[in-house]
């Protein structure tokens, strides 16, 4: 098989609506990897975006059994990236939920699948921190000010993002990253600590769990 033949096979398979996802994964990855094609060219030839084709190919790295399960569920392609990134347990959980649970509370299947996988994977520090409410952040800013051991710019930052959160804004990655630094600073300075006697034990534990302290 040369590259032209491989491209033809890939295009024909990609466009074939009668084939299962599993069959498509097997045929296309076989042709792609046999002759050393590149993603951009192949994606262009089959009229897919490079990200779409790369994500599809990455599904082929999963075990045959998992590929078969995904194929049976035939999830929308917006979920492919998530399945390709997960481990067997996370994928199985999401696939099972796809078939049984209500998705109505989520804005998209993609978010639904992600949440199912996160239930197994555990939330990242970024997830938990980004969900701190405006009131919680205001409280932390006030407590930090009371302690008078934390840099005033950091207190100002806490107040700023607390206001933004109250207005419904989603924190940016940069803000989340800086917030994690500030929370660590608060922990270092004992503003937040385990078994807090300030009536905020629940919030302190939540933050300390999130930053793994």
């Amino acid at each position: 098989m040369d590259k032209i033949e491989a491209l033809e096979i890939i295009k024909e398979t990609w466009d074939d609506e009668t084939l299962s996802l599993e069959a498509k994964i097997n045929i296309i990855s076989d042709a792609f990897y046999s002759v050393g094609l590149d993603i951009a060219t192949t994606a262009s030839y089959i009229k897919a975006t490079p990200a779409e084709f790369e994500t599809f190919l990455s599904l082929s790295n999963l075990d045959d059994e998992i590929i078969s399960m995904i194929s049976k569920a035939n999830p929308p392609k917006a979920t492919w990236l998530l399945f390709a990134s997960g481990n067997d347990e996370e994928i199985t959980k999401a696939l099972t939920a796809l078939g049984t649970s209500s998705k109505s509370q989520y804005e998209s299947v993609c978010e639904f699948v992600y949440q199912q996988m996160i239930e197994i994977a555990g939330e990242t520090t970024e997830h938990i921190v980004s969900r701190l409410t405006g009131n919680e952040l205001f409280y932390l800013a006030k407590k930090a000010k009371d302690f008078n051991t934390v840099n005033s710019n950091k207190i100002k930052f806490l107040n700023n993002i607390a206001g933004q959160k109250k207005r419904g804004k989603v924190l940016s990655d940069k803000q989340i990253s800086f917030l994690i630094d500030v929370l660590n600073d608060l922990a270092d300075n004992k503003v937040i600590q385990r078994n807090s006697i300030d009536g905020d034990a629940e919030l302190c534990d939540k933050v300390l769990d999130a930053i793994d302290r």
């Binding site: 993603i39 990200a51 790295n61 481990n87 996370e90 299947v109 555990g122 980004s130 940069k174």
Partner: protein, 488 residues
């Protein structure tokens, strides 16, 4: 009624046609080198050079040269040379097409200079492909003029006592791929080089490079020795090795190099296992002297022998395939305990040699060599999914937008891209940003990055996926950007 004899002379245009092959420059050069091995003189080591200087290609050997009688036959199309010269068991030329095909692939004009070992003469002949095309068909159309005279130092053979030089000029190719030829030749004639024959490529600047077989980098303890004797009456004997590479390959450069009589006939063959990223660690070399080769030695014939061997080797390699898969998944290659277990299992199933490298040394797998590397999880790749402002179209339909940042450099894709899914309602536009792409090393606000990537994805989706007029798509995109920036 009756019969008549038609003089069936092929058109001289055939000389041009036989050069219209899909041989690469390295394969064509390799074919000319292969012929040199059929001319070994008295068991001497061969010194073969491919000289690329002066806008021509000169392939020269110190073999026994060709006598006038042999040269007369060699210049004929499709002459079976084994009828005219004595060669060893490993003879490479069979069909009398090799040098004509290869020379015609490389250039429009080629010459042969040869000095037979027992005679103090030099023979010369030349082929002008363009001139052949103008010749009328007929019995004289294929005439070749052979000149003979005293050896001259002005010939490419200079002061050599015996040998042959092919000189190809008026080249069809520009920018001869020197390094690719060197690598190909090193692999193709590995057996000969290891026995002391020398093949040199002299580049356009006059720098001399000696061809050497490729060094493989495979995991220690995974080199499986192949010595398989099987088939009716033990007809088939395959020797060689297979091992697990330290890294996976998505460029096709894995599988088996197959040799016949010391010459490479197939590179990176993956017939014996399912080609896949997970099996792309499988590398090996095998000798299959029983194979037939096509005249241009680009592939084995799809013979009954080949199919029989395929079945046998598929079964033989099952353990190796499993090892490649197991090492490739879940980052096992980087976990000493997992790696050891897989390699130990391999040693139970096969005879293995203990050379190779201890752990991955380069490539994508060289991240951490201890158990601290987390196993595959959604958290390793996707840190969060953010819902972006939806896109409302004039027909009332809605496109839901999600934004995902991946912990990758997007080297095959770019700094950002998208996946559009119209199989569900509402339709979903998934915007992907590859966080480690060099573009994002520049200081740029993450919100701005998000808006740039999403707005571009919106425009491309509207035009490429929904067939909207680019002007309308631009208007919709700009409206989205305008509304989105209000929340900054």
């Amino acid at each position: 009624m009756g019969t008549r004899v038609v003089k069936n002379y092929p058109s001289p245009r055939l000389m041009e046609t036989i050069g219209a092959t899909n041989q690469t420059p390295q394969e064509a050069s390799g074919e000319l080198v292969a012929n040199c091995f059929d001319a070994r003189y008295n068991g001497e080591k061969l010194d073969i050079s491919i000289d690329l200087r002066g806008g021509r290609i000169v392939v020269m050997d110190n073999g026994k040269g060709m006598t006038s009688e042999v040269l007369e036959k060699a210049v004929c199309i499709a002459e079976d040379m084994s009828q005219h010269i004595e060669r060893g068991e490993g003879a490479k030329g069979h069909f009398g097409m090799g040098f004509k095909t290869s020379c015609s692939t490389l250039g429009y004009f080629y010459e042969i200079y040869t000095r037979p070992y027992s005679q103090n003469i030099e023979l010369h002949t030349e082929f002008d492909i363009n001139e052949y095309s103008t010749r009328p068909s007929g019995s004289d159309a294929w005439d070749v003029i052979i000149e003979d005279g005293a050896p001259s130092t002005s010939s490419p053979l200079k002061s050599m006592a015996h040998g042959t030089a092919f000189v190809i000029s008026n080249l069809k190719i520009t920018g001869f791929p020197t390094s690719a030829v060197l690598e190909y030749i090193g692999d193709a004639f590995k057996g000969h080089i290891e026995k002391g024959d020398i093949i040199t490529v002299i580049d356009e600047l006059g720098v001399s490079h000696t061809a050497r077989p490729k060094n493989y980098s495979f995991l220690k303890g995974t080199k499986v020795i192949i010595d398989e004797l099987f088939g009716p009456g033990n007809k088939y004997h395959i020797t060689g090795w297979v091992a697990i590479d330290t890294q996976t390959h998505n460029n096709g450069f894995y599988g088996f190099n197959i040799y016949r009589k010391g010459q490479l006939v197939l590179t990176h063959d993956k017939t014996w296992f399912k080609a896949h990223l997970m099996t792309s660690r499988i590398i090996g070399e095998v000798n299959m002297d029983f194979l037939d080769a096509t005249f241009y030695k680009q592939g084995v014939q799809q013979s009954e022998d080949w199919n029989y061997v395929k079945k046998h080797m598929e079964t033989f390699l099952m353990g190796v395939v499993n090892a490649s898969r197991n090492l490739s998944k879940m980052g096992n290659i980087n976990k000493p305990s997992e790696r050891k277990a897989i390699i130990t299992q391999l040693s139970k199933e096969y005879t293995v040699q203990n050379d190779g490298v201890e752990a991955p040394v380069n490539g994508a797998d060289n991240q951490q060599n201890d158990d601290s590397r987390p196993t595959s999880s959604i958290n390793n790749t996707v840190k969060n999914i953010v819902t972006e402002k939806s896109l409302l179209l004039e027909d009332g339909s809605e496109i839901h937008i999600t934004f995902i940042e991946k912990e990758e450099d997007g080297h095959d894709v770019g700094p950002y891209d998208y996946i559009f899914d119209c199989s569900q309602e509402p339709q979903e536009l998934q915007v992907l940003v590859f966080k480690n792409h060099p573009l994002w090393r520049k200081k740029i606000d993450s919100e701005v990055r998000k808006i740039i990537a999403t707005s571009d994805a919106i425009y491309r989706t509207l035009v490429a996926e929904l067939d909207l007029d680019p002007r309308i798509a631009l208007k919709i995109r700009n409206e989205w950007v305008s509304q989105r920036t209000e929340t900054l």
